[in-house]
Symmetry: C2
DNA sequence: GCTGAAATTCTGGAGTG
DNA sequence: CACTCCAGAATTTCAGC
C-alpha cells in the first residue's frame, strides 16, 4: 500500500478495536499531536482505508432476537442480479452480504423479529431471484463468540450469563 | 426488553450506522439534551445493548488482502473445545466466530496476508481440533457488498474500482 | 507535523416537573 | 427518576509556521 506507513496502520488497528477513541488519546498512543492524527485520519478516510464507524449492538435490544446466516447459490451474477443484491444489501436488517467462492456464492447475515419474519424473508428471496437461485439455505446463529474486532466482551443470544472480565476502556 | 423505550432503540440504530456521532448531534436527532443522551447511552452500555465501538477498516490497508470464510464441523462442543474456540476468537486476524446450526456448526471470518498464511492457518486449525473436526472448509470472500451496517460505501477486495456514489455522512 | 487559540463538545452537579 | 441547564474541563478544528 503506497503512502501508508506503520503509524497509519497502527491508527487503523486502534480505531478498529475502539471506534470512539478521541484524537487526543489516539495521538498519545502513536506519539503524534491531535492535529496530525486528524490529518492522517482524513487521508485514510479519503483513501477508503476507513469505511466508517459503527457501534456493535445486541440485536435483541432492537427487537430482533433471531440472527440467521443465509446461503444462496446463484446460477450467474449478471448486472440484473447485482442490482437485486444491491437492494438486498440496503435492507436495514441485513448486517453483511458477501460474494464468495464455494458451493454457495452468496452469504448474508440478517436479523429477524421471529421465525415467521425469517420465513417471510426467505420466501421473498426465492421470489426475487427466481430460477436463478439454485439453492437457498438458512442457519441460525446460536452464539457469537466474537464479532467485529472488539475484545472479549462477548455475549450469548440468551442474554449474557458470561463473566464480565474486562470492561471496555475509553481512556 | 424491559426499561428500553423507542428513544433508546433510535439511539442504538443511529449509533450503529454512525459510531462516531457526537452526543450533541445525537441529541438533536432524538430531541434530547446531550446530558440525557449520555446517561441513556451509559445505561445501554451497562445493560450490554452496546458491545463497543469500531471503525470498519479495509483489511488490504493492513496488509491482509485475503479474506476467508472458514466452516468447521465439530463432533461436539465440550468445555475443552470451547476453550479452543475462545482462543481462536482472540486472534487478531479473526473478525468473527459464530456457533450456528446446520451442517457445519462453526463459522469464522479471517484476514490473511496471502494464500500461504491461509494455508498455515487451516493446518493449525486441523491440528488444534484434531479428530473432533469432522470437516474444515474455506471459501474466499470475492466481494463485500455490505459490511457492518454502514451505508453503501462498499468496496472490492481487489481495490475499489466501483463508482463512488454517495460519500459517507458524519453530521 | 507542530503550535496556539477559538469553536465545539463533554461532563458532573444543581435544579425542575 | 428522567430531564434540562449551566459552568468548567477536555476535545476538536483550523490557521500559520
Amino acid at each position: 500500500m503506497p503512502g501508508i506507513d506503520e503509524r497509519d496502520r497502527e491508527i487503523l488497528r486502534i480505531l478498529r478495536s475502539n471506534g470512539r477513541i478521541t484524537l487526543t488519546e489516539l495521538g498519545k498512543k502513536v506519539n503524534l499531536s491531535p492535529a496530525s492524527v486528524k490529518s492522517r485520519l482524513e487521508k485514510l478516510e479519503r483513501l477508503g482505508a476507513v469505511k466508517g464507524y459503527s457501534a456493535v449492538i445486541d440485536p435483541a435490544f432492537l427487537g430482533n432476537p433471531v440472527t440467521a446466516l443465509i446461503f444462496i447459490r446463484l446460477k450467474d451474477v449478471d448486472p440484473y442480479t447485482r442490482s437485486m443484491l444491491r437492494e438486498l444489501a440496503s435492507l436495514d436488517n441485513v448486517e453483511f452480504l458477501y460474494l464468495k467462492t464455494g458451493d454457495h456464492n452468496v452469504l448474508l447475515k440478517g436479523e429477524f423479529r421471529d421465525m415467521d419474519e425469517l420465513r417471510e424473508f426467505l420466501k421473498s428471496l426465492k421470489k426475487t431471484f427466481g430460477v436463478n437461485a439454485l439453492s437457498i439455505e438458512a442457519n441460525l446463529v446460536v452464539e457469537e463468540l466474537k464479532n467485529c474486532w472488539l475484545a472479549d466482551t462477548h455475549y450469548d443470544s440468551d442474554c449474557g450469563r458470561e463473566k464480565d472480565y474486562g470492561k471496555r476502556q475509553r481512556s
